[in-house]
Symmetry: C2
Subunit: 193 residues, 2 copies
């Protein structure tokens, strides 16, 4: 998606250690008008899928998922990163390793909100090693729901997550795929799509 | 807001200990069409305020805040609950006590995203004791930004948060104020507005 690539080029900051900071518009401050255009693009890319629910993970996936959900006219469910006393009854759970926070999370969704009738689109802001998305896919499998696809804002194409997910035959669409980036020059190269 | 009160009456679950569970449409599974109507109502209620930014707190405030932001055509910033290595440079911080999770959080916002030029509307899903909102207001004060008001989906009118905030002369609008509820009967009484 040209507009997202241009925005990353303009406002993204490349840091040592393959860190791409897009917190001025994507995951701390959030440009909801841009999210809205991303929603329309995801709708175009997944137009043939009978999606009736969007699944994301807290916290930074929630904003994008909610705006994207408007294009699909479906509810959003967000997976939570730790057991809360306000989660009722039984939950589906999986484990996700966060390299950012250097720990392993339990990721949970109430069994009330994922069922075999659901056709689920997974939405997240970032795809790098793929741990978060794989955790969400495991929740969907546990529930008996159908995974219709995965929509990502920014994929780090030089990490293994995207390849791993595509090799499983999953319909993955990333609106911008960073092929390489250089902390010294700030230059970001995108994969042609 | 009649439609929200009706939804709480229909799908909310009252539990012992003054717990109101609305996770089927507000803060675990999220009904974005309802959020959109809430956004229009907040726009009506705060129409005279020169709001240029919405501030919320992760995680369950983010979805509502993003949809509401579409009615105001402004970006959203969400405060984070712990120091992340991906937060750059300096941050504004305050402390918030969570009764749900029985702990005290550090709540932070990057100094890049709140400044004296900002006119901020605080949005959150729930108001009970007011700790989260007071933490956000403290962040706004630290930044020199102007607090234009606070918009809440569901206020527990029998807890002190709402009174505390209104007594400070802050423009607080809660779309549904629960006056009392009864776990035995499931009955929920709303304040007339």
């Amino acid at each position: 998606m040209k507009k997202l690539e241009e925005r990353i080029q303009k406002d993204g900051v490349v840091k040592e250690g393959n860190v791409l900071k897009v917190d001025s518009f994507l995951n701390h401050q959030m440009d909801v008008e841009l999210f809205n255009e991303m929603g329309k693009e995801f709708k175009r890319l997944f137009q043939d899928a009978p999606i009736n629910k969007i699944l994301t993970i807290e916290a930074s996936g929630i904003g994008i998922a909610c705006i994207v959900a408007q294009s699909f006219h479906v509810p959003v469910v967000f997976a939570k990163k730790a057991q809360s006393i306000n989660i009722d009854g039984e939950v589906f759970s999986s484990k996700v390793e966060s390299f950012t926070h250097k720990r392993v999370y339990d990721v949970i969704v109430s069994k009330k909100y994922l069922s075999p009738e659901d056709h689920v689109l997974v939405i997240d802001d970032f795809l790098a090693n793929g741990c978060a998305v794989m955790g969400l896919i495991e929740l969907i499998k546990s529930s008996g729901a159908t995974l219709e696809g995965v929509g990502i804002a920014v994929e780090k194409g030089f990490q293994e997550g995207g390849r791993m997910i595509r090799e499983q035959g999953i319909h993955l669409e990333s609106l911008a795929i960073v092929e390489s980036m250089d902390a010294a020059t700030g230059k970001i190269q995108f994969r042609e799509q």
